[in-house]
């Protein structure tokens, strides 16, 4: 007795649905996985993103040499914070520090503050330690720590560059206003993280 084609198709469909699904998502293992997870770490956290972008914004606003000094100082000091995280050295209030970094840097941009370069570098350096500590704590669990480090340092640098690129609008009067408004938005976002609204 021959079964109807519809029933045969139905059976096949049920069998397919009942099958164990093989690797549905990319597991993020190995070198590529390490780089991807490291690259996504600073980008996937809004608190990190706004702080990094405002470092670039502020650097551009301050002009030379801050425009390049701040993005150069930040990764190195962040790495130092990362070492503390990897070593398990407790740093109280990491999340508060990260939220404060967005608030303070945002205010600096919004107010178009131009302190001496060393004050700007120290301020950015202090906040970099908090960001680095957060990254460092995650580092030992990464699939490939070197690729993870590479990914997150590159992502951090690119966020700075995007901030600098936006900050270069300050040569136009309307651009200056746009940057200062963005600074205000950044500090509000930081406030949102500090008060757990975000």
């Amino acid at each position: 007795m021959e079964k109807s084609p519809v029933k045969q198709v139905q059976k096949i469909v049920w069998m397919v649905l009942a099958m164990v699904v093989l690797a549905e998502a990319h597991s993020g293992q190995g070198l590529a996985g390490g780089f991807t997870s490291g690259f996504l770490h600073p980008i996937s956290g809004l608190d990190h993103v706004v702080a990094m972008v405002s470092v670039g914004l502020w650097g551009a606003f301050l002009g030379a040499p801050a425009i390049w000094l701040l993005p150069v100082v930040f990764p190195l000091v962040m790495a130092f914070g990362g070492v503390l995280g990897v070593a398990g050295v407790p740093l109280p209030g990491v999340e508060i520090g990260i939220a404060l970094s967005a608030i303070v840097l945002g205010i600096m941009v919004a107010a178009a503050a131009k302190p001496p370069i060393w004050i700007a570098a120290v301020l950015v350096g202090i906040f970099a330690i908090f960001h680095g500590h957060a990254h460092g704590t995650e580092l030992p669990n990464a699939a490939n720590p070197l690729a993870y480090s590479l990914g997150f340092v590159v992502a951090t640098g690119l966020l700075h560059l995007s901030g600098i690129a936006f900050g270069l609008l300050d040569r136009f009067p309307s651009g200056k206003i746009a940057i200062r408004v963005l600074g205000g938005v950044v500090s509000l976002i930081g406030l949102g993280f500090l008060t757990h609204v975000l």
Binding site: V72, V73, L76, V86, G136, L146, V153
Partner: protein, 197 residues
């Protein structure tokens, strides 16, 4: 102070290494695996890029001897590795990458002889690190590895020399130095503080 420093160096040397032998890509022969080899071994790429940028920051007349020294020592290192003479040099490569990254960041003009020394050490340590590979033809693998390393080195040095003329390009190179030093510092701290599981 000296004792503490000695202790830290000794700890670093005793730290567990990540797999120094990188599993070749199945289906490819040893030469092609060698060509791809440096791309799956990030400490090698990191120090190679750092050395290339550092050389490009110096006058062209100062970079010819270190370039020759690097290629010669790389050939010696890979030759020794072909006869399984060598050891895992990942820690040293990361230390070197950190140091070179820092020098790039500072944009210092280092003495001519030290450029040659960095080049020789980098080439030798990179070559010796490939001694632990388990493949059918080590000679083919190391030949492929040497070809890729040579081209990457030439490309980085050439790009650095081409890019390092304008002020903002020099700043870009210094930012890269900062990134390299940061990455090396983080991974070294992992080697030092986190035991391999």
């Amino acid at each position: 102070m000296r004792k503490k420093l000695f202790g830290i160096v000794a700890l670093l040397l005793l730290t567990p290494q990540w797999a120094s032998a990188h599993v070749p890509v199945p289906g490819l022969n040893d030469f092609y695996n060698g060509l791809l080899h440096p791309f799956v071994s990030l400490p090698h790429l990191l120090i190679l890029i750092a050395l290339g940028i550092l050389l490009s920051q110096h006058p062209k007349k100062d970079s010819s001897m270190p370039t020759a020294a690097f290629l010669s020592s790389l050939a010696v290192g890979l030759g020794l590795a072909t006869f399984s003479i060598g050891f895992s040099t990942e820690t040293f490569l990361l230390l070197g990458a950190g140091l070179l990254g820092f020098l790039i960041l500072l944009n210092w003009t280092v003495p001519y002889w030290s450029l040659g020394l960095f080049a020789v050490l980098t080439g030798l340590l990179m070559g010796l690190d490939f001694a632990g590979e388990t493949v059918i033809s080590k000679a083919a693998l190391n030949l492929g590895t040497g070809v890729t390393l040579y081209f990457v080195f030439v490309c980085v040095t050439g790009l650095g020399e081409g890019l390092g003329k304008k002020k903002w390009q020099q700043i870009g190179l210094r930012i890269m130095g900062s990134w390299i030093a940061a990455i090396a510092l983080l991974v070294l701290s992992l080697l030092l503080f986190v035991k391999k599981t």
